[in-house]
């Protein structure tokens, strides 16, 4: 009996100390990790999809609520000489191996895309991963908001050959971003200074 009590006691104390330690470390590193993820995962894509900016889009990011739902969306602004020129919004679509995250840049004046960049994906290496290559992504450069679909679905985007599913996932993600952009546009224009 004494042995059992001792076992329970020792194990509980060890687990308690471990739990407290982990909780403290998690709390202490939380904001830093969030920032690092943004810099290392979203950062490279942001620099490619936003044109003409002299601010730090990650530092100036803002959270918005989409419509009446509770989902929060982060909007990264491109600000040039104090005035907002465009924004980048990340959208997600279903890929072959999990969600595909796509950062989409928008030009606020012309209402067109300024480019896309893949942030996260788990596609098949050497097949699906080609959606992150220039041959695919450059089709979205200065693309209008309409006709954003694969050619097989009456749009004008060429799918990566052999990776239709991944291409469709990426296009879906872009469409999600466009949807979010259209709903949020009035709010975005209210939040940052414009040219006039």
């Amino acid at each position: 009996m004494r042995e059992i009590i001792k076992m329970i006691l020792v194990l509980s104390v060890i687990c308690l100390v471990a739990g407290l330690l982990l909780g403290t470390v998690k709390q202490a590193t939380l904001s830093r990790i969030e920032e690092q993820v943004l810099i290392c995962v979203q950062g490279p894509a942001l620099n490619n999809v936003l044109k003409k900016f002299d601010n730090n889009p990650i530092a100036d990011r803002q959270q918005f609520k989409v419509g009446k739902t509770d989902t929060q969306v982060t909007v990264f602004p491109a600000i040039s000489k104090g005035y907002i020129t465009g924004v980048a919004i990340e959208g997600f679509g279903k890929g072959y191996g999990g969600d595909i995250g796509v950062m989409v840049g928008f030009d606020l004046k012309k209402d067109e895309l300024t480019g896309i960049g893949i942030t996260t994906m788990k596609e098949t290496p050497g097949i699906g991963t080609y959606i992150s290559k220039n041959d695919f992504t450059e089709q979205f450069f200065e693309h209008p908001m309409s006709n954003l679909a694969l050619k097989s679905q009456k749009g004008d985007i060429d799918a990566v050959s052999g990776a239709t599913f991944s291409s469709k996932g990426a296009v879906d993600a872009v469409q999600k971003s466009v949807e979010i952009y259209t709903t949020l546009k009035p709010e975005i224009l209210r939040s940052w200074k414009q040219t006039e």
Binding site: M7, V10, C15, A18, T29, I33
Partner: protein
């Protein structure tokens, strides 16, 4: 002092973990694509191994023998999660490279092996010396293996150009089979040196 040196130095050659004891082979094969990755993994292991040996050796007298393995795993697991969080916070690119192999340090048999075989029976200073020796040996081996594979596979060393300009890298070396072949060659070389030494004396 002599005893401490003995426990420390055995991890550097006589009981060099990946090449002699063949312990902790999973990260040895998986993350040594470049010298930097190997070095980073080694540092994470030094940190976890030293602290786990230290803590386990401190509490070795109050841990009931029947639940000792559970206690060891709780201790190493908390340390590994701490390392993972710190890595994410301060060296995120390295964390992206090492990926799943950081959390897998928990089940690295080197750590549990040292806890069970050494730290649970020896006083604190010897356990720490043992952990540091084993950790350094592990890091050196991983950096060496990573260096060899990086030099032949990419033509660079720690990210800097190393080979002559016309050198065509053997991409094979940075794929999974290259790891097995490199490891085998290291083992062969170590066995060769040992037999050669024992013949000489």
């Amino acid at each position: 002092m002599n005893r401490i040196w003995k426990e420390f130095s055995k991890g550097l050659w006589l009981e060099l973990p990946p090449f002699r004891l063949l312990l902790g082979l999973c990260p040895v094969l998986a993350v040594t694509k470049t010298a930097y990755n190997g070095f980073g993994m080694g540092c994470a292991v030094i940190f976890v191994l030293t602290l786990s040996n230290l803590i386990i050796s401190l509490v070795r007298k109050i841990i009931p023998p029947k639940v000792r393995i559970v206690c060891f795993i709780v201790i190493t697991a908390s340390l590994v999660v701490t390392v993972e969080l710190l890595m994410q916070a301060f060296t995120y690119p390295l964390y992206q490279e090492l990926g799943i192999f950081v959390p897998l340090i928990v089940v690295n048999c080197l750590i549990l092996g040292r806890a069970e075989a050494f730290a649970s029976r020896n006083p604190v200073h010897l356990s720490v010396a043992d952990a540091l020796g084993m950790g350094f040996g592990f890091t050196l081996s991983l950096t060496f293996l990573g260096g060899v594979r990086e030099i032949f596979g990419y033509g660079t060393f720690f990210g800097r150009p190393f080979m002559w300009a016309e050198f065509k890298p053997f991409t094979f070396m940075v794929e999974a089979p290259g790891a097995f072949i490199c490891l085998a060659m290291c083992l062969a070389a170590m066995n060769f040196i040992t037999t050669w030494q024992s013949k000489r004396f």
